[in-house]
Amino acid sequence: MSAPSATASASEPSFLVDQGPRHGLLAWLTTTDHKRIGLMYLAAMVTFFFTGATIGIFMRLVQLSSLSHMMTAQTYNALFTVHGVIMIFLFVIPGLPAVFGNFFLPLQIGARDVAFPRLNLASWYFFMAGAVLAITSLFTGGGPPDTGWTFYAPFSIKTGTNVTLAVFAAFVLGFSSMLTGVNFITTIHRMRAPGMKWFRMPLFCWSLYATAWVQILATPVLAITLVLVILERLFGIGIFDPAKGGDPLLYQHLFWIYSHPAVYIMILPAMGAITEIIPTFARRTIFGYKAIAFSSMAIAGVGSLVWGHHMFTSGMSLTGDMIFSLLTMIVAVPSAIKVFNWTATLYKGSIDFQPPLLYALTFIFLFCIGGLTGVMQGALAVNQHVHDTYFIVGHFHYVMFGGTGIAFFAALLYWFPKMFGKMYSRKVAYIAWFPIFVGFNMLYFTMLVLGLEGMPRRYYHHLPQFDTGHVVATVGSWILVSGLLILFGNFAYALFKGKKAGSNPWGGPTLEWTTASPPPQENFATIPTVTGPPYAFPVEPRP
């Protein structure tokens, strides 16, 4: 490897060992170490994911039959709202940047920490505060919100449920996301190791950089929109309330100005993680480094221009419809560029087919389905039919779960040995893949078909003609669950009983693999000096 040979001396204790004056839980809760904060996010996020997923399973049970009465309609409406809010705001948006970004951004650019370590900890507290508020909103006031995660006015200002608190929770979570963005941009500009030029940065860092910009440029719009909803509910300011001259479409514009870019906050870091995994296991340099780096920035940029594609049937002007549909098509191009470059990176490699690669390729497949359905519904004539049906539900589960979710698993499989110094069972990781893949497609592909047939989303009760499809999907969800349980069981087992992993079990080329597993508190004994590109193969064997 032409890049650094800096190593941490084996004697240094890892960051998992308390080194300050405080010990135990307290040491974790007051830490400013980016790695510990990353792990704290991980713990929180896995919990939220399972909570949200369990709710998803319940929703599937309701849909088993058109006569199902296992819960009231009100409960069902609350469930999909809470499921959406948890999955979006507590899992996929913060997901990769907060966990792997925090942990690996400083390691990959050869820094000791992020630019503002204390702000970083504060972000975690904001995140947890938001989560606590979100949970509180379920049990207080008028009960859990029933508006869907989109909180469309004027329903959200009229319903008696506890929208105010839920929306405030999302506001606090947005704050956390914004501060993380500020932190990462500053870190990337200021903390790169000597010789780490912009085009020597690993592509994961590029994707985080692009994400961070979206975070600070789009999130404030959500914040103010949510504030307006709260004021509307508390004081009746009338901006979204048609009875007072307000306009519900203004709400939709403001909401999607944030929430469309937010989907790229979800997917960009995921793409970044995939970009790390593929060259490592292809044992060759990435194909089209600059194309991938620029396409991240392009997605972030153009992604801010397409929000109107969620409003094609809302009565937006025809000109608006046309412009937003056109821009939607353009934003798909950089994603296509990435897919082609990933595929090309496999060409003439020397492929070591390990679990992370399997999951990464699965990501590409599922993301392509999600992305291509996205393009289809971006076409106006098609959107008019599939908007707010299960086709949309299928689309976004493919991109969010098949995309970001699977990428999250792939990243965990890839970096787990570095984070914990333990290796999981690779065989079990392969075994888990089958039910995940089969169940996933049974569940969500069926949703695409249901949507085409005209099954609207957010329906407690479906018409009898959709029974078959719903049964298939529900069975799929059980298969999926079994796979996920195997996968996470495997991690849990490895955490306690796993074999020790070396500092570079995969032969990875980037800086994080040059330090010990798990890394020492200071990351590197001496700050490395970078002399070459990030994906330089073959990797020199290390002692």
Binding site: R190, P194, L217, I257, S304, S317, I323
Partner: protein, 100 residues
């Protein structure tokens, strides 16, 4: 810190004295007066005043009070990106509003 980032740190140390800022302040006050004056000539003039004088005032604050004049390209770029983004948000919202 890399070589290139170091160069960005260097911004002219000799910052201007009290006089410059008082002058800027005076300009701001004059512009405010102008804005108020202009807005007496009906709706149209008020809107034009709003669209021209106000950004000018904001620009003065940014440029001098907030030291943008003395910052390197990075900070200038950050502000530029923010304003550009806002402009785009406006423009695309108007793609809907203006053609209803």
């Amino acid at each position: 810190m890399t070589e290139q980032t170091k160069s960005m740190v260097e911004h002219p140390e000799e910052s201007p004295g009290y006089g410059t800022f008082v002058a800027v302040w005076a300009a701001l006050v004059v512009l405010t007066g102008l804005l108020v004056f202009v807005s007496h000539f009906g709706q149209k003039a008020a809107v034009w005043g709003l669209l021209t004088i106000t950004p000018l005032k904001a620009g003065l604050v940014f440029y001098f009070f907030m030291h943008l004049k003395y910052e390197g390209p990075l900070v200038k770029g950050v502000v530029f990106v923010a304003l550009g983004t806002l402009l785009i948000f406006f423009a695309l919202t108007y793609a809907d509003v203006a053609f209803r």
